[in-house]
Amino acid sequence: MTAPVAITLRVNATSHTVTVAPDMPLLWVLREVLQLPGTRFGCGAALCGSCTVLLNGMATRSCVLPVSQVNEQDIITIEGVLASPAASVARAVQQAWSEGNVAQCGYCQSGQVLTAVALLRGTSVPNDNDIDRAFDGMLCRCGTAPRVRAAVHRAARLLSERVPGTDTAIPSANPSTSPPTTP
């Protein structure tokens, strides 16, 4: 048990100084101290990925990450991703996610979406192997994996179709009215 210390966190582009035990996992600081409940508790052992956040742009599991280790680093949660440097990728991912009816219960989906965002920022056109690797150890009890895969491919297409210099997708196969695609 370590005594509480003041730690400065940069979460969703805002600085917060929190006074917590340095070994408290980032997950609980986000959920309970900063009131950002979109990051979920699933296993507490980095085995399921429900708690994934972007740490300096990398998909990172917050449930085993001591808050003292992320002092002054850049943390983006699902609540802040649309106002972050990853916004345009996130918009495409979230569009593909909703149009594809990906989610069922939705509990793990914040982590799945942020994992997709991190993947697409590093690899603009991922193949199935890239997706397998990026989503290794991302668990979904409802069984959304086939639709997650399809939505990542779809988001990559949406991003490649964007008009350069704008943040709007060129409507391809009338995305807003067409029935959801199934994998």
């Binding site: 052992a45 909703s98 219960c105 509990y107």
Partner: protein, 780 residues
């Protein structure tokens, strides 16, 4: 009931106009209850919908949303008949009210064989059960019953409200209703138009004499894919589950529960835990009949602090009477009982025993399955605030009535003093039918009156204190004539009884010796036309808590039966597809489903190639459950290390009318993956009374990498909607086992599937004589 209805008539607490409704039986499920979640200005036209002056339509949803898409499907049904603008539709949770009792789950849970459903005694029994369910049943989201349950009433709710709006416009314009029509939230006569939102006050006063439902040929929402109403919120992280967005000042509790089943805390160091940072209280727990165990809870400012402080308790546990209990021992008992004991009869046709004795040959096989955990992604949690006036509960439950009753009972309060705030469920699968977590959370919160306390289980707590799918053993025997055709089949199984165990926890008692349909479902109600049949089940009791797990008895009985049929086909030298079709001559639905799956998969019992070039084989299985028929064809190969790789599952489904086809596909895909996690990995082991499964590394779920492509073919149907959440699960384990048997020659009769032999066929690129010629054409 009447008195309660009239009290609800008039202005409700929110200022919304709430109508009483006719209490004659066909309409009684339309009655409106108190709807605390609506903003003022909404006019409640009946218990299923309210409309605001800005045309927003709020669909009132008594079913728990746990991923199955029921809120979208229910809204589609109401909106279809209401003819409103789908873009203005949202859902709000219903209060606990008898009007929302689940009738279908009770009626369809009767021990009636699907083939006998139209017979007069069955119809009478179903009518009586429906009446009883309306009066004394419960609000319940289970048994793949939700769409079946709301189908008629939700259509009537939408159609009745539409008739009221039409009548109101007819009065306003002084025109006959027959001159009016509706379209996307407008009443239209010639070039005159009124928005629904402009007619609310008058509409609420109308009592239309005649209400007619839409002809299905005019459906524009039902049967058409929609974006789920919750799709956007899921993708943007805005869904709120049990432990999200709690009242200010909420404290958090973690719980030490006995490591050995049946243990109790003997001594612990409460002072040491209280000295830990942030700790507010230490609470001794005695457990309750709802399934929560004795233990010790720590309440702290943060859940992490509470969880860290558990170790300081240093709890010493009493010696448990179950310290010698092991799943291996249980399974060996189940095996020997299944072999020797015909069990309590669940169904007879002809004299199966005599037919076996007279048979040319008897084929016999023993199967077994392990205990399984639900492992919902959202761990069990509930938040309770105890005050003198009232007890507030925030949780996601499949059974709100019982959750409320459990809290009232453990706190010795009146049920009316308990207010349950239903939250979205991060997965259910039967786990959230249980009230163990709310009963426990209520006891914990009672230690800090006036402070909301959120009790959260760790994943270890969840896996070690689940209420498990029971382990089960089966012996199947078939009498065969000289040509290998079956003359009779018997199935005897032994297990704990999941539904009895569940219903005892929620306060129903069972007479000893009464059959529990879930203990043999999928066997006694199977569609195959064996000349003679006997299905029996022997119930045994062990100290392992068991309950309802997605598809309940079907989850394993399909594995037994569909594996066995493949064995019989192989022994007869028949194609397993044709062998099944020969036993389904009077079952056109099952025949259509099976032939569709086979055709779409390009069914072949010859060896083939997986996309990676390894030898592969197909396996098929059929199963009927919750009035839905599903057939699946799985394409399977083995890695060099004999790891099972399922490449593709092609399935056909007859679920009656598919209200939301993409929702049906989601459920089928999810059920296949849930079933594959069980078939390939799922096993909860118990050693010396301890559940050995601690986290996902010991209870693996199917990974993205190992998830097959899944093609779902929904058969067109004009029949009423049938169950969808569960029936996709049972066939997948036998389909894979049948493929492995074809591939390796090894018949695996136990789950999870662990092949010991390699493929009989040779991988591509070797020079041996190849039996595998067909290269599978597919994209993964």
């Amino acid at each position: 009931m009447r008195r309660r209805t009239f009290l609800l008539t008039g202005l409700g607490a929110t200022g919304a106009l709430i109508l009483g409704w006719s209490l004659t039986p066909p309409r009684q499920r339309l009655r409106a209850g108190a709807l605390p979640s609506l903003e003022p200005g909404h006019v409640v036209l009946n218990g299923w919908l309210a409309i605001a002056p800005d045309d927003t339509v709020s669909i009132i949803t008594p079913k728990s949303e746990m991923g199955q898409g029921i809120h979208t499907a229910l809204a589609m049904i109401v909106a279809e008949e209401l003819d409103c603008d789908w873009a203005r539709v949202r859902t709000v949770p219903a209060p606990i009210d008898r009007v929302y009792n689940n009738v279908a789950a009770i009626v369809d849970g009767l021990p009636l064989h699907p083939d006998d459903m139209e017979a007069a005694p069955a119809r009478a029994l179903r009518w009586l059960a429906a009446k009883a369910a309306r009066e004394v049943g419960m609000m319940m989201t289970s048994a793949s019953s939700s769409v079946r349950d709301v189908w008629d009433v939700a259509r009537d709710a939408g159609a009745t409200a539409r008739a009221q709006l039409l009548a109101a416009a007819a009065l306003r314009w002084n025109l006959p209703v027959s001159d009016l029509r509706t379209e996307r939230g407008l009443v239209i006569a010639g070039d005159r138009r009124l928005r629904y939102g402009e007619l609310l006050g008058e509409a609420a006063a109308q009592r239309p004499a005649q209400v007619s439902r839409k002809d299905p040929s005019r459906f524009t929402l039902i049967g058409h894919d929609q974006r789920r109403l919750d799709a956007r919120d899921a993708a943007t992280g805005q869904l709120r589950f049990g432990m999200d967005e709690l009242p200010d000042g909420t404290r958090y509790a973690a719980v030490a529960m006995p490591p050995v089943l049946g243990g109790r805390p003997r001594v612990y160091d409460g002072a040491a835990a209280r000295a830990r940072p942030g700790v507010r209280a230490v609470v001794a727990l005695t457990g309750s009949e709802y399934g929560d165990t004795p233990g010790v809870a720590v309440i702290a400012d943060s859940w992490w602090q509470a969880e860290q402080a558990l170790s300081a308790l240093n709890v010493q546990w009493t010696d448990s009477p179950h310290v010698a209990l092991s799943s291996d021992g249980i399974r060996s008992t189940l095996r020997s009982v299944a072999r020797s004991d015909a069990g309590l009869p669940h169904r007879f046709r002809g004299d199966a025993n005599a037919a076996l004795q007279a048979a040319h040959a008897v084929h016999e096989a023993s199967y077994e399955v392990p205990y399984l955990a639900h492992a919902t992604m959202e761990p069990p949690n509930a938040t309770v605030l105890v005050t003198d006036a009232q007890v507030s509960v925030w949780t996601g439950t499949q059974l709100p009535d019982v959750a409320r009753r459990a809290v009232a009972q453990v706190l010795q309060r009146a049920e009316r003093e308990v207010v349950l705030h239903q939250r979205r469920l991060g997965g259910g699968f039967g786990r959230r039918l249980e009230a163990d977590i709310v009963a426990q959370a209520a006891r914990v919160a009672a230690a800090l009156p006036g402070t909301p306390v959120c009790t959260i289980w760790s994943r270890r707590d969840d896996l070690q204190h689940d209420i498990y799918r029971p382990a089960c053993a089966a012996v199947l025997r078939a009498g065969l004539d000289a040509s290998g055709r079956p003359t009779a089949i018997t199935a005897q199984t032994a297990s704990q009884s999941p539904f009895k165990a569940f219903s005892r926890r929620i306060g129903f008692s069972w007479t000893a010796g009464t059959p529990d349909r879930t203990a043999a479902e999928g066997l006694w109600d199977q569609p195959y036309e064996w000349p003679a049949l006997r299905v029996g089940h022997r119930e045994l009791d062990f100290a392992v808590p068991v309950g309802l797990w997605r598809s309940v008895g079907h989850s394993h009985h399909a594995f037994f039966l569909e594996s066995f049929i493949d064995e019989l086909a192989e022994r007869a030298g028949s194609d397993p597809l044709q062998y099944r079709l020969d036993l389904l001559r009077a079952h056109p639905r099952a025949t259509r489903v099976l032939t569709t799956a086979a055709r779409e998969a390009g069914w072949s019992d010859a060896p083939m190639r997986a996309p990676d070039g390894r030898p592969a084989a197909m396996g098929l299985a059929l199963h009927q459950a919750f009035d839905t028929v599903v057939a699946q064809v799985a394409t399977v190969s083995l890695s060099a290390e004999r790891r099972v790789r399922v490449h593709r599952v092609v399935m056909a489904v007859d679920c009656g009318l598919a209200v939301h086809p993409d929702g049906v596909r989601q459920q089928m895909e999810g059920a296949v993956i849930f079933g594959l996690s069980a078939a390939l990995h799922g096993e909860v082991r118990i050693v010396q009374g301890r559940v050995m499964t601690g986290n996902f590394h010991e209870y693996p779920l199917l990974s993205m990498r190992d998830t097959p492509s899944i093609d779902v073919h929904i058969l067109p149907s004009a029949e009423p909607p049938a169950g969808v959440g569960e029936p996709g699960l049972p066939p997948v384990a036998p389909a894979v086992a049948n493929a492995i048997a074809r591939l390796t020659g090894e018949r695996l009769r136990s789950l999870p599937l662990r092949p010991t032999r390699a493929s009989r066929f040779v991988a591509e690129g070797t020079d041996s004589t190849e039996r595998a010629e067909r290269v599978e054409q597919q994209t993964p």
